[in-house]
Amino acid sequence: MKISVDRTRCEGYGFCEEKAPTLLRLDSDDELEILSEEVGDDQQDRARLAVRSCPVAALRLEE
């Protein structure tokens, strides 16, 4: 499973970081950084939670 962000949509709300801090982080300029594009088996629930919590649907998961 892979996670990606559409940068034109992401508005830096940071909900995703809160739900999956091991995968996603807002950097010091509060730009979203993908820490790990590849989502491990034990991270899949968190990744889904992160994707769903984004109010502008900027994140995408590919199985």
């Binding site: 830096g12 809160e18 509060d30 939670l49 769903r52 109010p55 649907a57």
Partner: protein, 388 residues
């Protein structure tokens, strides 16, 4: 308490209901789930409906809320829950089907309140509101050809509507009984938004006597004081009401919403989350996105683990796009008095500011700043999450 293989019925498939479904899986529930939704549309997020979807900058499909397919999740669409039998642990659907449950998540949210609900629609005509995807599509199409609109209500939603319409070159009049966002956010934010609104050509008319809707030439018009305002479109944005009618006769306390305990429970088998739930003392609804996420997760943990689950920690947070302002607010609104500037500058409309009472922070506002939600919570004096 709910056995891990028990049947869970979730009523309402928006952000609270969908979050509850995924949280059940994440917490080891393996039984059947029935997710009931009155609307026919696939689940969608509401915040973009008054922003990018309304302006046409984003397609309505982009607002969808994804939910992984699973054999144990049955999805009912276009059929509403109309009854709850607490003693018999059964939800009744409009189609007549009974749905027995071991655990129930009430996530039926809210709908738009109308001027008629407030007793002020004497026109005999139906009001226009913005709450659902269908509302947003219709309004988007109408804004494309409108040259003047009248918005009733200067709350967060009314002013977002005004922002979008003004950005499309439409003449906008906002009628209200108080200054923009005043009771919700306090005088500082109100003045900020009012200044922007006027700079963008919006006509704001405030009069505590309240708006009445009247009919003029077969169309809806709005009267405030002695003036009648007409436009291509009159839209009501006067708050929301919880969807609780289906719980009449259930014995649940539903005022001002479904009243829940410190873990979002109504009974040990029934929980409620999101816009429909009323929490705290006195119980209050908190109809915002992040609240729906946090409450749904707390509620499911309590359904599965009872008193061992963490209590709900209120961490108020919401955002709004107003004209050239992207606002993010954390803490306990309304914010009173002048804030301290923590970063940036208010003159440049790029700042993080903070309100304190007796030296203790209770509110923060980010203006046109990308800021991690955790940092905003910190500046706002909100507690650290206990349910990540």
């Amino acid at each position: 308490m709910l056995p891990p293989d028990g049947t869970v019925v979730v009523v309402g498939a928006s952000i609270a209901g969908i979050t509850a479904v995924e949280e059940l899986t994440a917490r080891g529930h393996t039984g059947p789930i029935v997710l009931v939704e009155a609307e026919v549309s696939a689940p969608y997020a509401k915040p973009p409906l008054s922003k990018a979807v309304l302006s046409g900058a984003a397609e309505p499909e982009s607002a969808s809320i994804p939910l992984a397919e699973s054999a144990r999740i049955r999805r009912v669409r276009g059929d509403a829950a109309v009854r709850l039998d607490v003693a018999g642990s059964t939800v009744g659907l409009a189609s007549g089907e009974p749905l027995p449950f071991d655990g129930l998540v009430i996530a039926t949210g809210a709908r738009a309140r109308t001027v008629a609900d407030l007793g002020g629609n004497t026109s005999g005509l139906e009001e226009r509101v913005l709450r659902t995807l269908d509302d947003a599509r219709r309004l988007r199409d109408e804004l494309r050809t409108a040259s003047a609109i009248v918005i009733v209500g200067a709350g967060v939603l009314g002013m977002e509507l005004a922002s979008v319409a003004a950005s499309m070159g439409i003449a906008v009049t906002v009628l209200s009984n108080e200054a923009p966002l005043l009771s919700q956010c306090g005088p500082f934010v109100s003045a900020l938004v009012e200044r922007e609104a006027r700079a963008h050509g919006v006509e704001l008319v405030t009069d505590p006597s309240g708006v009445t809707l009247v009919e003029r030439g077969g169309r809806l018009a709005a009267r405030l004081g002695s003036t009648v305002y007409e436009g291509d479109l009159v839209v009501s944005a006067v708050g929301d009401r919880p969807n609780i009618e289906w719980l009449a006769g259930s014995g649940l306390v539903c005022l001002p919403g479904v009243v829940v305990d410190s873990r979002c429970r109504v009974t040990d088998r029934i929980v409620a989350a999101g816009d429909v739930a009323a929490f705290g003392s006195p119980p209050r609804r908190n109809p915002h996105w992040s609240n729906a996420l946090d409450q749904a997760r707390t509620a499911v943990a309590a359904l599965l683990n009872g008193d061992e689950a963490p209590e709900y920690l209120a961490r108020p947070y919401f955002w709004s796009d107003q004209f050239s302002l992207a606002l993010k607010m954390g803490g306990h609104t309304p914010f009173l008095g002048e804030p301290d500037v923590l970063a940036g500058s208010l003159d440049d409309l790029d700042a993080l500011v903070q309100w304190r009472r007796d030296g203790v922070p209770y509110g923060a506002l980010a203006v046109n700043r990308r800021i991690a939600i955790s940092k905003l919570h910190l500046a706002a004096g909100n507690p650290t999450a206990n349910i990540i």
